[in-house]
Point group: C2
Chain length 477, copies 2
């Protein structure tokens, strides 16, 4: 079912109002994770509550506990849950967004004050401001949809449940517990879920995102002497922890990115024809990645291999060493204890546990071969499982049609190389198909200076979210 044409016209006619709504949201500096912004986060929750009430949503602020912020125990930002519509004949869509933002200071290199939504004076349509795209733009997009329907007197085609949090930029503390505790209460009856908190791969092609890599982070600790040693006095006489560590780290991955830990490659789920077709259809050129990293340092010159390297294969990155000399200049000490740090991005069939078992055994075996008298410890510091959704689920089919109708383009089917932990919490605890439906473009700079959303993405994004509801209502399981 195509979106109601009156809705689409209403959006076109109220662009200025919608930008005004986003402008108000951006002006509230709801930086989570910083004690001096606690009141602003609260103010943003209140603004959202007012808006929801005005638009006919039954909403409530829910306390989810406290946390320590700069040494002070304070309330976590409230979770806002809301519902509009309760027709058993309609599908029930759960949406998620967050109303907190990353920190931003003008002096970090912003062109304009970060908490004033500022249109590009050159007329490009870019709207600069912290939170413009992450994630106030998409959240306001949903409010825009509700406003249009209310003012037009049109019933929504689905029941909507919504969950907005204020801690996403600071670890989503306790959100998992909240979802768990409300699984059979507020969240009961949801048929599928939509999250708009990621971005297009490029600046031109809308996409649906159906997977996220997980991550295992490891430390290898090698220690020996009980104090740092002078390399003039002790170099050549003792087993140096750095030498052992560098040797171990060099055995994990090749310069071409191949993971050398036995067992891991074998775990990777085989590529299906459908999957390969989706990768081959993605709008992507090698120059896109060359421009993103600032040069041609790609392992492959093939777009599909590069996209799979990013989205569906595991990767291993060596991040650094704690305890060794790391400043400019020269220091000749032999550090007595060093910790090498690396992470492995996880993909379907690689679990936190299976990968950790292989990593620990391999590093221990390789260390034994060194014949060193130093001591080894290797351990996982944190892990996050990978996630993949069925991209042929009716929710994706609905989003596919909505994208075609709003953008006149077939969406790319993408996965994110990084992780969005709340996705897994919702998907795993509630057992729902989750659709990641981005609104912003790949160059929005979500966590950077000069974060922006393009007016066209904000306005067409509003239409997209609305159109998706209509297609969802009409698509059968």
């Amino acid at each position: 079912m195509a979106a109601n044409p009156k809705f689409l016209s209403y959006v076109d006619d109220h662009q200025a109002d919608y930008i005004q709504r986003l402008s108000k949201a951006v002006s509230i500096a709801s930086v989570s994770g910083n004690l001096s912004y606690v009141k602003d986060v609260e103010a943003m929750a209140d603004f959202l509550m007012e808006q929801l009430a005005d638009l006919g949503v039954t909403a409530e602020k829910r306390k989810i506990g406290t946390h320590s912020l700069e040494g002070k125990e304070v309330d976590l930002p409230p979770v806002i849950i809301g519902q509009i519509g309760n027709d058993p004949k309609k599908k029930t869509l759960l949406i998620y967004g967050h109303y907190d933002v990353q920190p931003a200071l003008k002096e970090d290199g912003w062109l304009y004050p970060p908490f004033e939504l500022t249109p590009d004076p050159n007329g490009s349509g870019k709207l600069y401001g912290r939170g413009s795209t992450d994630d106030k733009g998409p959240v306001m997009g949903w409010l825009n949809v509700l406003e249009a329907h209310k003012n037009l007197g049109i019933e929504l085609p689905v029941n909507l449940k919504m969950c907005f949090e204020g801690m996403e930029e600071n670890g989503s503390t306790n959100l998992d517990k909240f979802i768990e505790s409300e699984k059979d209460k507020f969240f009961a009856g949801a048929d599928c879920m939509c999250i708009s908190d990621n971005y297009w791969l490029d600046t031109k092609t809308p996409c649906l995102t159906y997977g996220l890599r997980g991550i295992n982070y490891y430390e290898i600790k090698v220690s020996g002497p009980d104090r740092d040693l002078h390399s003039g006095v002790f170099g050549g006489t003792v087993h140096e922890p750095m030498t052992d560590l560098i040797s171990l780290m060099s055995k994990l991955v090749t310069p071409a990115g191949e993971i050398l830990i036995p067992g891991i490659k074998e775990l990777i789920a085989p590529v299906t024809d459908d999957e390969r077709a989706k990768f081959e259809a993605i709008h992507f050129e090698m120059k896109d990645i060359h421009s993103a990293v600032g040069g041609d340092v790609t392992i492959s010159d093939d777009t599909v291999k590069t996209l799979m390297g990013r989205m569906r294969n595991p990767s291993l990155s060596l991040h650094g060493i704690e305890g060794a000399f790391s400043a400019p200049g020269s220091k000749t000490v032999i550090p007595c204890s060093v910790k090498g740090k690396f992470s492995i991005r996880l993909v379907p069939n690689l679990t936190i546990k299976s990968v950790t078992d292989y990593v620990v055994k391999f590093v221990q075996d390789e260390f034994a071969k060194l014949g060193s008298k130093n001591k080894l410890d290797v351990y996982l510091t944190h892990g996050g499982e990978p996630w993949i959704a069925d991209p042929n689920h009716y929710s994706y089919r609905a989003a596919h049609k909505a994208t075609e109708s709003v953008y006149g383009q077939t969406p790319d089917y993408t996965r994110e190389g990084g992780s969005i932990p709340v996705t897994l919490d919702f998907a795993n605890i509630l057992g729902l198909n989750v659709l990641l439906l981005p609104v912003g473009r790949g160059d929005d700079g979500a966590h950077s200076t000069n974060e922006k959303i393009d007016t066209d993405n904000y306005i067409r994004g509003t239409k997209l979210l609305g159109a998706y509801m209509y297609e969802l209502a009409a698509t059968s399981d």
Copy 2:
């Protein structure tokens, strides 16, 4: 010729005076390299000048230029040169010492105020204080010798030239130029040289030190992307500089300390029978090094191999990486540019240049094998040549006899694994045999908190320096 017995008795009878002299020297906080202590360094130079004048030495303070200290251009501490005796029938001995000290603050963990010479209240004979052993103890030792002879009315058996600097702990800036400029003036006519600015290998055995390792310090820089990258987004798609760097660093040295760079091992001078005998005679047990490093992490369990590993073989230590993550915790970034740092200790026949040629070629060749699109740079940041003296020179034979007469022990013949750059400046510019004749013990903690000298070492050290003069006068070339 044994030392004049009156001199030896005088020393025994004036221990309290001598400790008083050291106490006065330690009380002047002559920390070089710190703007707020400039006046103290100057005061220490003046104290030394007064003492020398009192003892009949013709001395002068010489300016050697300026340097920048905490952003301010100030005079370098003066070099003090002095002479006593000018008899063409006698040998002329050049001695060197330094009157500046390392920084020290009580709150760093000192048991007593660092600039008050404090005898151990438990009666061990330890005298705690900054500079007590490095290098005010030995310098006051020479003054004690002069005082004894003056007060006893005994002529010195040799002509003495002395050179005391106030910048040793801060790089000996311009001392090389000063030596060069005075080579044919003040320093003309010196027959040999003695420096007391290092330590016994253990706490029981006097030693003569006849060699120092040099050092070449290198950086390997690998760079690729023009900005740091998110490992979720780019892991698996680009050549990561850390992976390349760790691979290169792992190829330099084995965990058993073997340098893998072709050509270097082959350069090492072969061990002579005399050399081996000197190593075998050194008083050293494996438990000495185990206690010094806090555990059994030695590569070999053999004392001679361990001593040669420290003193006469090159070693390669990996010190750290600049540009990678180095703090506690987890960070998942792919650094865009990293610098690996390592040093190679040099021994006779390994020159700065020959080793650097091998290192640069090897690292470049190994990098080429990686097939990486990143960029490599490998270069020497600083180098210091190794040094070795003829331990059978008459100056060493004299010190050998003096040690036997004062300590009743045959001295160990040792080399230092680290470097003492002034030694090379004097040896190379003046072309003199240099004897390193330590006064303090291996556990004095020269640059550490609670630096000390044992009263016995200070008093017998005074006798040793005097006795060495007598033996020197009597020993023929």
